[in-house]
């Protein structure tokens, strides 16, 4: 079974059912399927075929979902890239994955002309296409379905390559655990470049339910986000805790009674402050589930919030293994952690990625780098990281990648990036030592980073300093900088 079978099969049986909703519109399964066939034909005419990589550079929209389906049914691999990502970074991604084509909007086609490798086709995903014969390519579970690019510790983004079998193991688990039915309306809050969106889209498609695309600009108006849950009859909400915190704190989510349709609230990507979980639990009878897993493993553990979790003074546990995976923690001495012990979480099983694109395939367990404590009941509490990776409102950021971009500016000598605050208030702060030419100015560095990195990796604050503090062994004193950043 392939990831594209969900839409193909639901469209064959229930073409009239709504598949994708957005404010003011709906795309039904039959239409989604037909448009995906038409675009797939257009892509095939550009030479796209099985195994080829196709970045989709566009805003979240029904057309983007169509493009994802079109690429999949060719047996090709989609690579979602948000339209807010600068063209220069899209070019880096396209080159890294050896893209056969880039699917984008008419303005995207203009902006990319001349900056992609020769032979990379540019396909306008907004073009009017004539109905086409069905396109279908059967693929094996071990073949790649999509690549999600994440921040890389070496200073370059890295592509997490997810197979059809990996994705389906997660989606099928989620559909069963949540008992998704055709009556459900799942909200898609996360960007389509973020692995959270896989549940929203494909659990809906698997069950013949609909997914409501939440516009990214609502992040600036939590009141509208809160209103959307009610107005659109959302039954399953899934987002990073930061979004829920903003909706609670600034959006008035809890000011009115919980909508009766809402039956599950899922969160993942970062710890959720327990006081907000308590308030959510007091507000709604919906199931509250904490899902955990790095992009490389999709969701590998989960925990359903219970009354006793609300009495703790720490975030709810990340729970136990899900999706058929096996998880365990390894102590510093190499032993497997027992209850009470701390260790780094390891994952093995069907959701573990195929590997990073262009590198050796992933074989055996994946070491997450997340430090956990084993609870008495065998579940896990998340404690932190064993490296420099930070989270900004659910987005993971390798400071080294931002620092590499900053130091590429001719007027920057050195730079160190840390995160200030946590949860909804987390922000990147860059400490910059000027080069021989003098300090480049805050605006110049904002522009410089914005032209090379996605928006969530642009430092919120840039502070100039004469020297970066060092630890006794000569490394940048990140703990000291973090303290200064608060």
């Amino acid at each position: 079974m392939s990831l594209h079978d969900y839409v193909v099969e639901t469209a064959a049986r229930h073409p009239e059912r709504p598949a994708v909703r957005w404010v003011g519109g709906v795309l039904r399964y039959g239409e989604l399927n037909a448009r995906a066939d038409a675009l797939a034909r257009a892509l095939a005419a550009h030479g796209v075929g099985r195994g080829d990589r196709v970045p989709i550079w566009s805003a979240k929209s029904p057309r983007t979902v169509v493009a994802m389906q079109a690429v999949l049914r060719l047996g090709a691999v989609y690579v979602p890239v948000a339209s807010t990502t600068p063209a220069a970074r899209l070019a880096v991604v396209a080159a890294d994955c050896g893209a056969a084509a880039v699917c984008t909007t008419p303005s995207g086609v203009e902006r990319l002309a001349g900056i992609l490798a020769p032979g990379t086709a540019l396909v306008d995903m907004g073009q009017d296409l004539r109905p086409a014969e069905p396109v279908y390519t059967a693929v094996a579970p071990g073949e790649p379905a999509y690549i999600l690019y994440t921040s890389g510790s070496t200073g370059r983004p890295k592509g997490v390559c997810v197979g059809h079998g990996n994705a389906r193991a997660f989606v099928d688990w989620a559909v069963a655990e949540l008992a998704v039915t055709p009556r459900d309306r799942l909200a898609n809050h996360a960007p389509l470049t973020f692995d959270l969106s896989v549940l929203d889209l494909y659990a809906a498609f698997a069950a013949g339910a609909s997914v409501h695309l939440v516009p990214p600009e609502l992040a600036y108006t939590p009141v509208r986000l809160a209103r959307l849950v009610r107005d659109e009859g959302i039954t399953i909400w899934y987002s990073v805790p930061s979004a829920l915190t903003l909706m609670i704190r600034d959006g008035g989510l809890l000011d009115e009674p919980a909508p009766p349709a809402l039956r599950a609230v899922l969160f993942a990507g970062e710890p959720f402050a327990v006081e907000h979980v308590r308030r959510l639990a007091a507000w709604t009878g919906a199931r509250l589930l904490n899902l955990y897993g790095p992009t490389e493993t999709n969701v590998c553990t989960f925990h359903e919030v219970r009354p006793e979790d609300l009495r703790r003074d720490q975030p709810v546990p990340i729970g136990r293994a899900s999706c058929g995976d096996t998880v365990w923690a390894v102590r510093r001495d190499g032993g497997v952690a027992a209850p009470g012990d701390e260790g780094v979480l390891h994952v093995d099983g069907p959701t573990v990625m195929l590997g990073y694109w262009g590198r050796e395939p992933q074989t055996g367990p994946y070491r997450t780098g997340d430090v956990v404590r084993v609870r008495d009941d065998g579940a896990f509490d998340f404690l932190g990281r064993d490296d420099d990776l930070v989270k900004v409102r659910g987005h993971r950021v390798e400071p080294a990648e931002v620092e590499a971009v900053l130091t590429a500016h001719p007027d920057v000598g050195e730079a160190a990036v840390v995160v200030r605050g946590e949860g909804a208030d987390a922000a990147l702060v860059a400490f910059v030592v000027a080069g021989p030419g003098g300090p480049p100015g805050v605006l110049a560095l904002k522009r410089h980073t914005a032209e090379r990195l996605p928006p969530y990796m642009i430092p919120e604050q840039i502070r100039f300093t004469t020297v970066l503090p060092r630890t006794a062994n000569g490394k940048t004193d990140r703990a000291g900088l973090k303290e200064r950043a608060q």
Partner: protein, 90 residues
């Protein structure tokens, strides 16, 4: 907002505000056409601060539906939206 407050005055006021609050006072090169969202100057974290400033300073409650990447592209587009909203509610 007083009816005779011109868009130019709003542009001037907003430019100073953004420079001071969001660029640590170091606004070299910042002007009314500098991209606010695309360059990460305006974020989901600080947009509430700007909306509060607009309400306090100009007496305009920006309609939530207008908080988008077009109206908030730069200071000039925000000023135009403020003046338009003020006229509508006058």
């Amino acid at each position: 907002m007083s009816k005779d407050l011109s868009q130019e005055k709003v542009v001037e006021g907003l430019t100073g505000f953004v420079r001071e609050r969001f660029l640590s006072g170091d606004g070299t090169g910042f002007d009314e056409h500098t991209p606010l969202l695309a360059w990460g100057i305006l974020t989901s974290l600080n947009s509430a601060i700007l909306l509060n400033h607009i309400a306090r300073e100009y007496g305009v409650a920006v309609p939530m539906e207008r908080v988008d990447e077009v109206s908030f592209r730069d200071v000039r587009s925000i000023a135009a939206m403020i003046c338009e909203s003020a006229e509508t509610t006058a």
